[in-house]
Amino acid sequence: MKGMSIIVKKVAQLISGLIFLYGIYIITHGHLTPGGGFAGGAIIAGAYILNILAFGSDAMNLKNKEQGSSLSESLAIFIVLMLAVFALFIGSKIFFANYLPKGQLGEIISAGAIPLYNIFIGIEVAAAIITIFLALVIFKEEVKK
């Protein structure tokens, strides 16, 4: 796939960073507003996918990218699990307990461990969607050859 016209490329360059930032916003405000890890992760994946679609699969080294994204997916979900398991060792010793201080309602740094879960779930979802997308793209390229 060779990528699209100049208009798409330039616009993708301009706004993909901002889409990424918007994804971060959705993730970090997951405990205050609707949204959270899954929605934000999907947006972040959207920013990447926009770039790949605009520049075409030739322009980027997709195989390496897929390995990286699948590794970061496993790592992120493992960290989520470890965050939950960590609760088994401190405080009330209960799986998935919220062991961090709760903070004040409405602040961005509050709600204990929930923002941490959100962040890592966001990474995991983004990596997972990118991995699926890349797997399908690479597969299609292979079929063509």
Binding site: I7, K10, V11, L14, G17, L21, T28, A47, I108, I109
Partner: protein, 162 residues
């Protein structure tokens, strides 16, 4: 390096506009988010960001916004007239418009401006030419319709982006 700084500033402004709260924690998180963005997406950002730092370009940008709005309103009425007229005086077709612009970003902005104006839609850019779908092709003369479609924006965009 410059483009990393540019995207950092851009995304931090975007963050402030999104959250619109100025508590310390929010700003700290915003700086962190902007850092991550510039770290991850910096290499995909525009190549030449020096024009971002030249103040006079922003002056032309503001003027351009007014011009663009005015042209937009005019075109709106024009299209509304064509739609509401009982005879529907339309004569659609695709024309090839010559551009005097050099950089890709300027071409992109011009194409988008043409699309935003009712009655014209830019279809594709090939080299120095831009294909435009036009609701009423009033003339066959290349110079004339290039002036009519693109000319009104071109000189401002040249000043802003080149």
């Amino acid at each position: 390096m410059m483009k990393y700084i540019a995207i950092f500033i851009l995304s931090f402004i975007f963050w402030i506009l999104l959250t619109f709260s100025f508590s310390i924690s929010n700003i700290v998180v915003g700086i962190a988010a902007a850092l991550v963005t510039s770290f991850v997406f910096g290499k995909y950002f525009l190549k030449h960001v020096r024009p971002f730092l030249q103040i006079q370009r922003y002056y032309w940008l503001i003027i351009y916004l007014f011009i663009f709005t005015w042209e937009c309103i005019k075109a709106n009425f024009d299209v509304a007239y064509r739609v509401l007229h009982p005879a529907m005086p339309i004569k659609p077709g695709i024309v090839k418009v010559k551009l005097g612009l050099k950089t890709n970003i300027a071409k992109t902005i011009l194409a988008n401006s043409i699309t935003m104006t009712p009655g014209t839609i830019s279809v594709d850019i090939v080299g120095d030419e831009i294909y435009v779908h036009w609701i009423y092709i009033s003339t066959d003369n290349v110079e004339e319709y290039s002036q009519k479609i693109a000319g009104r924006f071109e000189k401002y965009i040249k000043k802003i982006f080149e």
